[in-house]
Amino acid sequence: MSEPLLEVSHLKTYFEVNKTRTVKAVDDVSFQVNKGETLAVVGESGSGKSVTSLSIMGLLFSPPANIQGSVKLSGKELIGLSDKKLDQIRGNEMSMIFQEPMTSLNPVFTIGNQIAETLIKHKKISKKEAKNETVRLLKLVGFGRAEEMVKEFPHQLSGGMRQRVMIAIAMACNPKLLIADEPTTALDVTIQQQILDLMLKVKKEFQSSILLITHDLGVVAEMADRVLVMYAGQVVEQATAYELFTNPKHPYTVGLLNSMPKIDDEQKERLDAIPGVVPAAHRFPVGCRFAPRCPHATDECTAEMPNLLQVDDTRAVRCVLYKEEAVSV
């Protein structure tokens, strides 16, 4: 398609919880985000979505986190970069918004302060300029009374408003990449709609790429150009949004789509549920990690971990069912 902005290859993030237990939160994940596109990452709780994004941002503490592999932003390697150097990039070239708007803002500083400090840090502008810029940003994210907002504290705002402030902070320095980790999960549908719209708007305005993490397939369908499906720390399927919803391949993706009650469809008597639960991250089964829940599972599946098979230009599936279709290994 177009040129890659973020290239993640063979990212492994393990947590040494204690001597006997290693949590393989992210286990050999590779993908890329192209300029101007929105890549969505979906997966159940615990599948490693957040850890992936935090690894990219370099926000995990190590120890306990042990990060391997490569993350390149505009061709620049981020893994192994010193904190000082990373700080030049974080909030500037890439930024992030989080799931919990209620707790993601520092309760003791004003909104204005928290936006301005990013500007001052990265843009090296004066306080006054920063303030003007702050007001502009607040207006951009839809606050009519931006001038007053500057002096308010986070607790005076509702969840949706805080999330908008978070977006203002994230977009302050015009980053090339915005990582959004379940930005709307904690919000009501009507507010979710507002935030999603806002994201689309700022994306256009700033021409950034978005790495959107979510577990809501509806959000994916509305927002994403391409989708990455994660299961148990691995990518199990990768496709354009259209392909994924019209022709899901991995049994997990299929199951996921079928188990969703859909507002548009005619009533189904029963949903198709995927039996079982996601395995705990410190004791994955050998072989395909989905095999214990998979209706198509064979001995082959439980014996060996299948590879991520590239089935065409834009698609990859980690399932033996598609061995034949595979383009290359």
Binding site: E44, V189, A221, T246, I274, V277
Partner: protein, 335 residues
């Protein structure tokens, strides 16, 4: 299923005001009108879905119906018994027939009790089964019903995943063979794949035991899936209540319309029209005058700001509280 239409729960003019106390003397300075004049009926064997934004009073309503909190005003009639008129000791007996499943599977099971104890507690409290063995038997039976293995009996909540805990919660609710179960967002905290398991289970059980559900949720798709009828709440009031199919096909209230259109669809083949809502939910401590929704309503007109619309019948199986329709309805009647 719903043709018999025997009312099981009737709620009339129910209100719950939480006082806001301030100052040294903790003087009352106002009320949070969590539920404000709500009426509806739940018929035997049906599922009434309740949707609404966070803070719209869904949980409060559910708790009042179970008499876990006392209503400020209004009547609840359950199985022809009026709650207001029975003694507290009687209420405890009544509890056998009505149960609740809670939202947070992590917080609704006492972490210090084993699954066995949790399941047997209702039996013990109501002295339904006197022998220890009998209770254990029943517990096993319940575990099987909700699809958990017998080994779960001696385990503790922390050893289970969210979905499994929710099953335990359901099993516990079932233990006294209730007629009526209120689910207060029982699947909101669960992942899609697990959510579907639990929804299926609830449906299965409903069939098997002829249960009546009041199903609270904020996910419209889920409510649509499980309910027969759906009530939409906004700021402590029901703004629309209708049979499921009608409501989703032809929502009348602007709020319902906005709500339904805001749900992101997985259908990438069609792009739906969106009714965008601006602004936030106002505070129930200080609700707008007139129609509570008027501050966010795209069709707002002067009347909405002063006069509060009441719930009126809009054709078969649908009631709406909106001036758009009261005028129409009135006009229609006049003609």
């Amino acid at each position: 299923m719903t043709d018999k239409k025997v009312p099981l729960v009737e709620v009339k003019g129910l209100k719950k005001y939480f006082p806001i106390n301030k100052g040294v003397l903790q003087r009352k300075v106002g009320d949070v009108k969590a539920v404000d004049d709500v009426s509806f009926t739940i018929y035997k064997g049906e599922t009434l879905g309740i949707v609404g934004e966070s803070g719209s009073g869904k949980s409060t309503l559910g708790r009042m119906v179970l008499k876990l909190i006392d209503a400020t005003e209004g009547e609840i009639i359950f199985n022809e018994q009026n709650f207001a008129k029975i003694k507290n000791s009687e209420v405890r007996k009544l509890r056998r027939d009505m149960q609740m499943v809670f939202q947070d599977p992590y917080a609704s099971l006492n972490p210090r009790m084993s699954i066995g104890e949790l399941l047997e507690e209702p039996l013990l409290v109501h002295k339904t089964i006197s022998s220890k063995e009998g209770r254990k038997e029943k517990a096993f039976e319940l575990l099987e019903k909700v699809g958990l293995p017998r080994e779960a009996y001696s385990k503790y909540p922390h050893e289970f995943s969210g979905g499994q805990r929710q099953r335990i919660g359901i099993a516990r609710a079932l233990s006294t063979n209730p007629e009526f179960i209120i689910g207060d967002e029982p699947v909101s905290a669960l992942d899609v794949s697990v959510q579907s398991q639990v929804l299926n289970l609830m449906q299965d059980l409903q069939k098997e035991f002829d249960l009546t559900y009041m199903f609270i949720a904020h996910d419209l798709s889920v409510v649509k899936h499980i309910s027969d009828r759906v009530a939409v709440m906004y700021l402590g009031r029901i703004v629309e209540i209708a049979d499921k199919d009608i409501l989703y096909k032809k929502p009348l209230h602007p709020y319902t319309q906005a709500l339904i259109s805001a749900v992101p669809s997985t259908d990438v083949t069609i792009k739906r029209e969106k009714v965008a809502l601006t602004g936030e939910l106002p505070s129930p401590a200080n609700p707008p005058k007139g129609c509570a929704f008027h501050t966010r309503c795209p069709h707002v007109h002067d009347r909405c700001k002063v006069e509060r619309p009441i719930l009126t019948q809009q054709g078969e199986g649908q009631m709406t509280a909106c001036h758009l329709y009261t005028t129409e309805a009135a006009a229609a009647k006049a003609e």
